[in-house]
Every structure is written in C-alpha cells, then in structure tokens.
Amino acid sequence: MKHLLRLYPAWWRERYWEEFEALLEQRPLRWRDAVDIARGGIDARVHQRPRNQGTTQQRRIAMVVDRNELRDELRAILAAREELGEESEEHLLESFLDRLEESVRPAGLQPPLQKGRPTARTLWRWTVGVTVLWLLLGLSSIAVGIPWSLGSTAPAQVFAAAVVSGYALVLVVLLCAFLLSSALRTMSALIRHSSRVGTSAHG
C-alpha cells in the first residue's frame, strides 16, 4: 500500500504522510481502498497545489512585504557605503543582489522551475527513451530478418513482417525526432547553464 502513497506529490506526502499512514494502519485495507487512494493521489497531483505556494494575491502580498524589507536593506547598504567608502561598493552590491534574489523567492515558496536545466528525471526519461528505441530497432530487425533467415517466401509471412517492420519504422522515426529535439534543447540548456556558471565563477 505504501507504493500507492508514492502517487501523491512530495509536498502532500511531507504534510500528510505520517497521519495518513497511521490511518491506514488502523483499519483493514480493501481493494476499494487501494483504488480510492490511487484516485486521491492523482487528484492531489492534478487538482491541488502546495499550500505554501498560495494564491496569486497571497504571493503578491508576500512580494510587497519583501519589498519593504528590501527598502530597509537598501537603506542599510547606502549607510554602510558612506561609512566604508567606495572600496566596499562591489561587496555591498552583491549583498543587495542576493537579497533581491531572495525577494523573488519569498520564504516558504517553492523555488521557480528552471526550464531546460537537466535533472535526474530528465536523464531517467532519456535512458528509458533510448532503451525503447533500441528495443524497437531490435524488434523490427527480427520481424524483417526471421522470414528471410528461414528462407520463407510465403506471402502471408512476408506481408506480416512488412506490416510489423513498417509500423516499427514509423515509431522509430517519431521517437528519433522526439529524442533529437529533446537532445538539442537539453544541450542548449546545458551550454547556457555552464556559461552562466563559468561567468559567475570568474566574476
């Protein structure tokens, strides 16, 4: 049953896992419950949002609060600049920019998704995609190869092999196009990311 709980999103499990598990331990579970839990998990993924993300209005309020904090920070920095002189300007500027970055991600909110940046999930999808591609290639080869290797020229067999290999070929072409476009997108994201990292490391 614990496997079913994995259908729920991470934020949900973090908040409810313990009490939900305690509830499940208190009663005998039936198949109907398993279906109900699976439906609940899908619902939590599709229709619910992490509570700490709040509504758009709540997020705006959070930004306003942070804006006030930023104003205080800027005042403190300007005061420090007058005391410390021009040499510390760069350091103060960096400090302010850090604070500004924090204000875009107020405390408790999820960090924004970084589009295009490769993650473990992306790599996993790639691995699965490539494996499926190899399997399809293998299957189409077998479908075409078996009748030939048996020396059969029976029209039914040749037709079946042609249909299967043709079907596989279409799938392979579609998969290749998808993988190629994904690869190009990921590579460009990787290049952008590494150039950003390089720039910040040198800076």
Partner: protein, 105 residues
C-alpha cells in the same frame, strides 16, 4: 444552491460530512471515518477523506491540531462552523420544499 460545499468539486459531499463530523468536537482521520459510517452509513475511503481534509484546510474551514502519536486531530474553525450552518440550512430548505411537493394535496 449546491447540495454540497461549493468549490470542492467531487469532494463537496465528503467535505460536508467531515464538517458535520467535526461539529461534535475535534477528531483525527480514523475517528471521522468511523463517525461518518456510524451516523450516516457512508464508508469514506482514505483517499477521499484526505482529499476533503486537504481542501477544507486550504479553505480554512478546518484546522489541524498538535499530532498525537502520528495521528493528527482536526477541528472546525469559526469560518467552518458558519459554512456548515449555512449549508445545513440550505439543505433544510431544500428538504422542506421537496417534502411539501411530495405531500398529498
């Protein structure tokens, strides 16, 4: 007029049952399920119950209390009490109106 809690989708009826159960005092999930089954004969599944709880908590109609040995009790908020009262009155009006029509003239 909705016959369940508005804005709760397919969870409107379970949400109403949860609110009604909590009207008699704070309860954790299992106690709510048992209470609803005993009083109304409705066997809420765990996924449905927590779907309703999540929505009710989001709408601030119920609030969680300190967990006791992994079981977390919930209680109605004043807003939840008001929403429950309003919904029950609407259901009562609906029931009375329906029974009047059914009654032999």
């Amino acid at each position: 007029m909705g016959l369940g809690l508005p804005g709760m989708g397919r969870f409107s009826e379970p949400a109403l049952l949860v609110l009604e159960s909590l009207a008699s005092g704070e309860k954790h999930g299992y106690a709510m399920m048992e209470d609803i089954k005993r009083r109304h004969g409705i066997d809420l599944g765990p996924g449905t119950l927590y779907g309703a709880i999540t929505r009710l908590e989001d709408a601030r109609l119920i609030e969680p209390l300190q967990a006791q040995e992994r079981r977390r009790p919930y209680r109605l908020t004043p807003r939840g009490e008001a929403a429950l009262g309003e919904q029950l009155r609407a259901l009562h009006r609906f029931t009375v109106a329906g029974l009047e029509r059914l009654a032999p003239s």
